[in-house]
Symmetry: D2
Amino acid sequence: MSFNTFGHMFRVTTFGESHGVAIGCVVDGCPPRIPLTAEEIQVDLDRRRPGQSRFTTQRQEPDQVKILSGVMADPDTGAQVTTGTPIALLIENTDQRSKDYSEIKDKFRPGHADFTYEAKYGLRDYRGGGRSSARETATRVAAGAVARKILPDVKVRGALVQMGPHKIDRANWDWDEVARNPFFCPDKDKAAFFESYLDGIRKSGSSIGAVLEIVAEGVPAGLGAPLYGKLDADLAAAMMSINAVKGVEIGAGFGAAELTGEENADEMRSANDGTRFLSNNAGGILGGIATGQPIVLRFAVKPTSSILTPRQTVDRSGHETEILTKGRHDPCVGIRAVPVGEAMMACVLADHLLRHRGQVG
Amino acid sequence: MSFNTFGHMFRVTTFGESHGVAIGCVVDGCPPRIPLTAEEIQVDLDRRRPGQSRFTTQRQEPDQVKILSGVMADPDTGAQVTTGTPIALLIENTDQRSKDYSEIKDKFRPGHADFTYEAKYGLRDYRGGGRSSARETATRVAAGAVARKILPDVKVRGALVQMGPHKIDRANWDWDEVARNPFFCPDKDKAAFFESYLDGIRKSGSSIGAVLEIVAEGVPAGLGAPLYGKLDADLAAAMMSINAVKGVEIGAGFGAAELTGEENADEMRSANDGTRFLSNNAGGILGGIATGQPIVLRFAVKPTSSILTPRQTVDRSGHETEILTKGRHDPCVGIRAVPVGEAMMACVLADHLLRHRGQVG
Amino acid sequence: MSFNTFGHMFRVTTFGESHGVAIGCVVDGCPPRIPLTAEEIQVDLDRRRPGQSRFTTQRQEPDQVKILSGVMADPDTGAQVTTGTPIALLIENTDQRSKDYSEIKDKFRPGHADFTYEAKYGLRDYRGGGRSSARETATRVAAGAVARKILPDVKVRGALVQMGPHKIDRANWDWDEVARNPFFCPDKDKAAFFESYLDGIRKSGSSIGAVLEIVAEGVPAGLGAPLYGKLDADLAAAMMSINAVKGVEIGAGFGAAELTGEENADEMRSANDGTRFLSNNAGGILGGIATGQPIVLRFAVKPTSSILTPRQTVDRSGHETEILTKGRHDPCVGIRAVPVGEAMMACVLADHLLRHRGQVG
Amino acid sequence: MSFNTFGHMFRVTTFGESHGVAIGCVVDGCPPRIPLTAEEIQVDLDRRRPGQSRFTTQRQEPDQVKILSGVMADPDTGAQVTTGTPIALLIENTDQRSKDYSEIKDKFRPGHADFTYEAKYGLRDYRGGGRSSARETATRVAAGAVARKILPDVKVRGALVQMGPHKIDRANWDWDEVARNPFFCPDKDKAAFFESYLDGIRKSGSSIGAVLEIVAEGVPAGLGAPLYGKLDADLAAAMMSINAVKGVEIGAGFGAAELTGEENADEMRSANDGTRFLSNNAGGILGGIATGQPIVLRFAVKPTSSILTPRQTVDRSGHETEILTKGRHDPCVGIRAVPVGEAMMACVLADHLLRHRGQVG
């Protein structure tokens, strides 16, 4: 039983393989009369699009999104708006190189999902990783762009805060810097460093992991829900569902293990604004429900498993062999996960907004 | 919209507040003809039960579970077995002290869900935290005991691996040690240290965080599913839904961010056993599907928010005040989260087993 | 995979067998701050309670409901209100006679679910039908009483409109009459007739089918949803899930097959009230969405399968035999389905109200 | 909250409007390694395709289906098979005439979903009925064709058994006849009659209702589930979700209301085949679970609401007016619902097969 739908009231169902005809998604539950154009969705897709720097895969995909359903010209205003019916979004695959797959067709690439898909299904789409390819995340970004339209007062932004062992200097954090370098890095100095650092990794045919941070500002206090639909539980699942993610933390996260109760619990003051809490170790969530503070989460992305160094593995028949993954790959797959993480955050928040409105009115 | 059900085919719905009549759960989807007695469930409940050492809450609850439905004597064997219908489990609350709640009735305790429940619902059950109390986790442990019966070949165990800044020495890991100390600590030396360390924290009225590790051995390769029902995504949500958890990681987890592709991707050999992979940075999951290796996850628990030091806060009317939380509390709430984490792991695996069997046959 | 939960945002999970310790349900998703007492729920339960006339089962069950969770005294008003957390309702079984079950333990009663439960699960709870007993419907009535509290402006009422081949005279319809006879019959004359008619059937140890009608007034136009969550689709499933129901129709129902387009389509006028439509063949639903007219549905209940005439059947080993079902049974099980049908209607409407509010605001 | 997904383990999400770019669906949960080609799906689509006789809409749509994902050449056999990942199916709209919509843009067509969509969403796609058009059912037929592949031993067939007041003669039932007339009618004589009967209705610009019967043979005993996932409850919802359906009944259906217990309960004999039961008033389902007999259901379809006679209605502003619906319409929309009913039956059975396999093994 695979599950290609996420969300409860704002529901996204995705489909498609890396080297198939097309990828896409169906966004169901979007409220009516919300202005929405393909161009707006395209803005987010372009941020994730491959081939924009030497630090991401050289696959050339325009990633042009088409809206197949769920919108029409508002009879009163003429603007294109949602109708409340499912919004189908389609992105055609155009750069599926007719390469020779014989190397990976019968061998399991270490760190990839080759072995496990085969163990589960008895076969796997070996062309570019099939369904397990990071290409699927383009559809998440498209869905996230729709989710953002439901959250006009919420600002969801992401950044790369660590590459390999190198963490950014938080004192240098500048959101404007994120769009100015190919790493989504908010620390200008560290971005300059990453340029040479990742060049070295790229040239050696290696790869490296990363940690990303996603922040949502403007989330109203009260959003979220106990107990198994906690906002942080849904966010953890959403981030962990992204390719190559191995850890998620909220607020103080793993650091909370080292804190005392006095240090950790965020004290409160009477201001009904950003200064209501004297700190934000909670990361904006208590008991699964938003406090009104910024929601802050981080997730860790493992290094790209496709590298130029030969690795030991087995083939489909169980015989031992070696494999060396050539082709177009990201030296740090974590980089492009920034817009994906933002999209997942937006989708979870949109879902919770509709759920909250339904139960609490 | 609250969500008090988790799982898809093995579904658990929990109910109850800390100081209400009773807590309980309904386990739906359990296969028929599985031997199940209240005594078996009680074993797991007793491991989590409060009041067993000076390091956990002094609340005295026998936590006796009753099976209200879903079992009968097998007409052929006479043994009590499941019938395939919902299994309702009930645990009565017996030690709800008729204490004076005036201190917390109108004030928001920092670090607790008081403010957020009030923000969401317009009121909250202030008696012992109501629904947000860790007491609810007893019902998870009961459900987990049922889940274990569906997984006879899977061994799910947990341990405390860090308290405050103090990590165990993994070279000392001894699973047998876990049951011999009040900390579920697998490192005998560190357990001795924790005794005095936590005594100090307890006596000062403070509290401390912890990191726990849950390991599942014997999970067959192929269990799990892409893409939004990934085994690791479901595990992340399950752990994050436990009270006070702020982070979850699988395998190398956040450490994966510092690894290169060569270091991270687990190479394979032909053995069809525990030596098939040369390492387990994946933590037993690739592409959301089990590799057959042990599934290894860790989660961070923040320090108990109820402490004896007065803290700044506001009351329901928004006026600034101070609060000091007296009463029966755990100096390290993370300790008793070990059987809870095991239970959640067992529930997620049981759910995936049924889902897998359904789709793949 | 059994499914003992219904509804999406107003979700009810039921449990329990006819002759077990207790039956009950967990109502999840109920909005907060709604006044709710056990006494209010009891009113509906008492309407369904067995043993109130010679025309229903003689089982003596007080059917006293207890609220185990999800309510508290409102800190402002003192009235008992919902908190937004799951409401667990428990009804103990008190009249499980320790009768001899040897007759039905190994034989399949025709028309009952004995054979099919055994075919599915490999065993069945033969004591009073176990989970397949109509006793389970008490928990639906309890949940429906909660649902009604969410729908203060909606009036949901039901009536028996046919018993055997005898239909009521709709010109005699008087809602007040329903509570005055043991058949929930709105036609005073027909009720008098049913008294002698059903006495004859009861004395001969036979049984008879019935048709019930449930009407909901005050449902706002716009409630409901395309396409697989249509209000009528959800209602059809809800009614068909009640024991012994074999058919469901909305508005003109099967009669619509005989109508022309001119006769069927309800014309509209400008009044924004009950006279907006000139007829109600739609039964208050078009395209799965409420028109604002009364929602009118009927469902057919087959005759009780337990009768005093010996019937041919087989035993668990497949050998041919006869069976004669003694014990406490309803000569017309359809009668007590009236409050059950009302409850299911209320639950579906409550669910749709929350869903509508969530998506459309 | 709209719901455009149906099924639990075999899940179908549909999208698209009558006059949009395309309609389609995503089939999620289909087991792997099942041979599947677009040609196989096309066979079912062609049975439903419009414009094949003068008795259905003259809209010309080739309804060519494309498989966008979820299949690949089996590495061992070369045959195209499913991979276990979502199967996206796309059907482009080609005959959306650029007609003048001014007549229906601002007026509510009686019997259509115009008023209710507007009441719910504040706007509606007036072009050909938008999402509420019967055109959407093409995607259900496509999904049903996939479902059939999961059920190789089950035969699902449908037929028209009543048009207007005219019922077929069941003694004349011949399944082979169904494909030989444009009415899916199994009674050759009645089909001849319908030809002239419906011609009269068509020429007068009127329309008429119908009753259809769907039969599934080969469904194994044990499939299905109590209590809210009953096979008959799911089937009732599935059929009621089809456009214009106003009633559903299983087995004896509404006729069961007139039966006594002796007449209704199907007696059993020892044969483990089609003669195990001496009758089939249950329609193949007891307690929500299949008996192994043919599953037999009927559903009623109201007459097409678009007719050539002017009808009273109101416009969007609430002003009274008249409307006359010109354009391409079916005089008996029930006819083409036969393959749709079959498809829904197949989808529900496929879903239950996977669920059953999951829980019971």
